[in-house]
């Protein structure tokens, strides 16, 4: 018979793992610093617009970073494939004395 205690244990054992708290907070602090002082906005509409704008800029930055990382990965893979296709005869071999350390 499963008891309440078992449910709690199960939930705690499988609870979602939160990662990257540092970068997340860094992002939030940057967004808060980009905001005007709350007292300067007295209308709900202004606040909503402000949040939307800041989040839009943040999401655009994030998309740009992800795209840049993706491009770097693709370039690295293509470079590795290209290098592996170069016939080994064309690669100058190192003279054997280089490997004879004493």
């Amino acid at each position: 018979m499963v008891k309440d205690k078992d449910i709690k244990q199960f939930m705690l054992r499988h609870q979602p793992e939160v990662k990257n708290s540092g970068p997340f907070m860094k992002d939030v602090v940057r967004q808060i610093n980009a905001m005007p002082i709350p007292a300067a906005m007295n209308q709900e509409r202004q606040k909503e617009d402000c949040i939307r704008l800041v989040l839009e800029v943040s999401r655009r930055d994030l998309r740009a970073v992800r795209m840049a990382v993706g491009v770097i990965v693709v370039v690295a893979i293509l470079s590795a494939i290209t290098i592996s296709m170069i016939p080994s005869d064309l690669i100058p071999s190192f003279p054997p004395y280089l490997f004879q350390f004493k």
Partner: protein
């Protein structure tokens, strides 16, 4: 409260908030963090409305749940479970999702039942605090908890969990 004081206040609360939203979003990290950011910005701009009747964390979680409902569409979630919703709406991006046993176990629950069990068992909130966060009566929270417990017991018995 100054900007610096607010930031210091949310430093300790961002992790439980993100964990709760991650559970609500089925492990979709990108969506959960997006909602968490919106929550924290809303809290910052609306801090003057915080009257101190509940704790700051309860108030923050309430905003977080509101943002989640806005994001997903409260009407859909209140009437059907996540499984039904996912069957109805084709998932366009599952890249950030991480499936684990917890998500599978709470899959058949409605969003408010899911929020209730996550807040009760993982974040250790009382039924009164959960009622404040979800904006419903305590008796409704207890009824959600009862139904969710019955569902989870069935799942755990099937899986042979003790």
């Amino acid at each position: 409260m100054t900007r610096e004081q607010f930031i210091a206040e949310i430093y300790t609360l961002q992790e439980p908030l993100r964990r709760f939203l991650l559970g609500m979003c089925h492990g979709d990290v990108f969506t959960a963090d997006d909602i968490a950011q919106e929550t924290l910005l809303k809290a910052y701009l609306h801090y003057d409305t915080f009257q101190g009747r509940s704790s700051f964390s309860t108030w923050l979680f309430r905003i977080g749940y509101g943002c989640f409902c806005d994001h997903i569409g409260k009407r859909i979630l209140d009437t059907e479970s996540i499984t039904e919703r996912e069957n109805r709406i084709p998932a366009d991006d599952d890249s950030g999702k991480d499936y684990n046993e917890l998500y599978a176990a709470i899959d058949g629950l409605t969003s408010s039942e899911k929020a209730t069990v996550l807040l009760f068992y993982i974040e250790d909130y009382s039924t009164k605090e959960i009622a404040e966060i979800l904006g419903m009566a305590s008796v409704t929270v207890r009824s959600h908890l009862h139904r969710a417990r019955r569902h989870l017991k069935k799942i755990l018995e099937q899986n042979g969990e003790r």
